[in-house]
C-alpha cells in the first residue's frame, strides 16, 4: 500500500497534476463506446486508457455490480446485457434483458436489475444471482431513464415519447404514479436524502424537480448560455455530490456541464467539456467527475472541488456511458 501511494505521488509530480489535486487513490473507469462496440478502461492515476474491451453491438448503459466483481453493459442491438469480469476485463456472461436495453438500475442489495427496453415499452425485471428474467412492467413509449429511491421502495422510469416519470413500487411492481415532465426525459436521479427527484428533458431543455411524496413537479431548472442557441441545450446525465449540495448536469450538444447549487436550484457555472456530453460518474472519493463526450470521442475529467476541467482522455467512438469501480 505504501509503495503504491508513493508511486502515485511521484507520477502526480511528474505530470504536474498532483500539485492541483493529488490522487489519493487510483480508480478504474469503464466507458461504453456506442459506435466502436467497445468499452474503454481508464486508470484514474495515470489518466490513460489501459485496455479496450470488445463487447456486443451498440453499448450504452454501463454499471458495476454492487460487489464490484462485474461490469454490466447494455448492448442494445444485441438485445442483451453483457457481464465483464472486472478482474480479467473480458466479457464472461450475458443477461436475459428484453429487446434493445439502454439504461438499467439495480436494487441496493444488487440482487434485482431493472432494465429499460426502448423497443417494446417495458421495464424488464431480472434476478441478478440466477441471471434469469422475472417479468416485465408495462410503461410509456420508449422507456429510458432508470433509478431507484434511496430507501429502495420506488423505481423510477422515464419514457421518452410519453414524457413521463413513472413511479413503480418495487415490492408490488405496479405503477403508483405518473408525473409529466418536459419532452424526451432521459435521466432520473434522486437526491441522496430522497427529498427530490431530478429528471432531465433532452428536447424540453430543462431539468424537472419532483417531490417524490406528492408526485408533483415543484420546480424546473432552465439553462441559458450566452451566444448559444437554445435548441443546443439538451440536458441528459445528472450527477449529485453525496452531500446533496452540488449537481452537475450534462447539456449534450451545448458541450457543457452545468454546475447547479442544489439548495437554490440556480446554475452557478458552465464548464466547457467535449462535444455532445452524455453521462458522467464520480470517482468514489468524489474528487473527480468524469464525463463522456459523444461527438469528440473523449472523456473530460473535472476537478470537483475546483469545478475545473483538468484533463481530456481519448477513448473509442461515440463514448456514451461511464461507471467507476467502487
Amino acid at each position: 500500500m505504501r509503495t503504491w501511494t508513493l508511486r502515485a505521488w511521484r507520477v502526480g509530480l511528474l505530470s504536474g497534476l498532483a500539485l492541483a489535486a493529488a490522487p489519493a487513490h487510483a480508480f478504474i473507469a469503464y466507458v461504453s463506446n456506442e459506435k466502436s462496440n467497445t468499452v474503454s478502461v481508464i486508470d484514474t492515476e495515470s489518466w490513460t486508457v489501459t485496455k479496450t474491451i470488445k463487447v456486443g453491438q451498440r453499448p450504452r448503459g454501463i454499471d458495476f455490480t454492487r460487489d464490484g466483481k462485474f461490469v454490466m453493459v447494455a448492448v442494445g442491438d444485441d438485445d442483451t446485457i453483457q457481464m465483464i469480469d472486472a478482474k480479467t476485463q473480458s466479457v464472461v456472461d450475458s443477461l436475459p434483458s428484453g429487446p434493445d436495453p439502454e439504461l438499467f438500475a439495480q436494487d441496493a442489495a444488487g440482487k434485482i436489475l431493472y432494465v429499460a427496453n426502448e423497443n417494446d415499452n417495458t421495464v424488464t425485471v431480472i434476478d441478478l444471482e440466477k441471471r434469469a428474467r422475472l417479468g416485465d412492467i408495462q410503461v410509456g413509449v420508449e422507456p429510458e431513464g432508470m433509478t431507484i429511491s434511496p430507501d429502495g421502495k420506488t423505481l423510477i422510469n422515464t419514457s421518452e415519447t410519453t414524457n413521463m416519470a413513472h413511479f413503480i413500487d418495487t415490492s408490488s411492481r405496479q405503477i403508483v404514479a405518473n408525473v409529466l415532465v418536459d419532452a424526451r426525459p432521459r435521466f432520473a436521479e434522486f437526491k441522496h436524502d430522497a427529498s427530490e427527484l431530478w429528471v432531465s428533458s433532452e428536447i424540453g431543455g430543462t431539468v424537472s424537480i419532483i417531490d417524490p411524496g406528492k408526485h408533483e413537479v415543484t420546480g424546473k431548472i432552465n439553462f441559458e448560455i450566452p451566444g448559444l442557441r437554445k435548441e443546443a441545450i439538451q440536458p441528459v446525465g445528472i450527477g449529485m455530490t453525496r452531500d446533496d449540495k452540488t449537481a452537475f448536469i450534462a447539456l449534450g450538444p451545448a458541450n457543457r456541464i452545468a454546475v447547479v447549487d442544489v439548495a437554490t436550484r440556480k446554475v452557478t457555472k458552465y464548464l466547457l467539456v467535449g462535444q455532445r456530453v452524455w453521462h458522467m460518474a464520480f470517482t468514489p472519493d468524489e474528487k473527480f467527475l468524469l464525463t463522456t463526450n459523444g461527438v469528440s470521442n473523449d472523456v473530460s475529467v473535472i476537478d470537483v472541488a475546483a469545478q475545473k476541467v483538468i484533463k481530456t482522455i481519448q477513448v473509442g467512438e461515440l463514448p456514451w456511458g461511464i461507471t467507476i469501480a467502487p
Binding site: 415519447t161 410519453t162 413500487d169 408490488s172 411492481r173 405496479q174
Partner: protein, 393 residues
Amino acid sequence: MIRWLVGLIGLGLAATSALAADPVMIGVGYLGIAGTRSTLSLVEQPAENDGVAGARLAIDDNNTTGKFLGQRFALEERRIKEGEDAVQAATDLATRNGFIIADLPADALLKVADALRERGTLLFNAGAIDERLREADCRANVIHTAPTRAMLADALGQYLVWKQWKRWLLVVGSHDEDRLFADALRRTATRFGAKIVQERSFEDKGGARRTDSGVTLIQRQMPVFTQQAPAYDVLVAADESEVFGAYLPYRTWDPRPVAGSAGLVPRSWDAAQDQWGAIQMQNRFVKLNARRMTALDMQAWTAVRMIGEATSRTNSGDIKKVTDFIKGPEFSVAAFKGTKLTLRDWNLQLRQPILLVDGRMVVSVSPQEGFLHQVSELDTLGYDRPESKCKLK
C-alpha cells in the same frame, strides 16, 4: 417463485388500468385521396396506406401514454375517390372527430377548412406543401405539419452553398407544381448566393413510366438533353410530377451531381433516418406496417402526436382547450429530429429540420451550420415572419 412474481406483475397491470375506467375518448379523422400516384422509381412507389400508417402508429403511441392519463385515441380513415366531394366527407368525419388529419390538394383543403370553421374542428395539413396555404390563403383552423416548397428548397440550397456548389443548372418540368418548386429554388438561389447558370425545361409529352426497354432509351436521351450547358457545379431538377428527375443521375453529359427532385432530395423524413432516437420509432413503424416509413407517414405521425402532446399537457380532450394549447407559446413536440418542433405563430407552420437524403442514407440535415437567425435557426428555412402575407382568420 418466478411464476409468483410474474403473477404479481400481471396483477399490477390490471390495477393500473382499472384506474382509467372511463377514459376520455379523442377521435381523430384521416382524410385522403383514394389511389396512389405513379413514380419513376418502383422502389419509391407509395403504399396504399402512405400517410395513414404514420397516423396509426401515433395513435398507438398516444394510447400508451393515454392509459396513464385516462385518455383513449381512435382513428377513423376516409378516402375520397375522384369526383367525390371532400367537404361532404370532411363534414361527416367531423361529426365524430374533433381533429382531422388531411392529405388533400390545396384547393380541396381550403374548401374543407372553410366548411369546418364554424364547427371548431382542427385540421392538420399533412400532405400539401403549397406556399399559398401558409401565405395569402392561410387559415386559423389549419396547422401544417408538411413542410413547404420554400422550406425544402432552402434546406437543399443551404447545403449546396455550404458545399460550394454554387453554380446550378436548373431543369424544370412542365407541370404547375414543377414550376412552383422551380420558383422556390430560384428564391433560394437569390437568398443564399447561388447562381442559376441556365434553365432548361423538360416537356412532359405523356408516355408510360413502366416500359420493357426503358433504360436503353433514357441512356440515349439524358446525355443529349444535358449537353452544351454552361459551366455548372450541380444539376438541380424541379420535377414533382415524376416525369424525368430520377432519369438524370449518372446520365448527365458532364459528370455532375444531381439534386432537387432526384439525387440529393430534401425531405421531412426518410426511412434511413436513425439519429436522435429515431431507430426506436422506425422499428415500431416497420413492426406495425410491414414496410418502411415515408415523409408523408412522418407528417401524419407528427400531427397525431401533436394532438396527443396537447391532450396530455392539458389533461383534457376538449377540442377548444387542446387547439388553444397547440397554438399557444408553450407548445412544442419532439419528433426525432434532434430539436423540439414548434409552430410559427403567424401562419401555423411547424418549424422543422429538413433531411437531405439520397435514397439510401441521410446525407445531411438542414439548417446548416452558419445560417443564423435571431429567433430560431429553423426559420432560415422558408418564408420568415417579416415577409409573410398570412393574416390568420
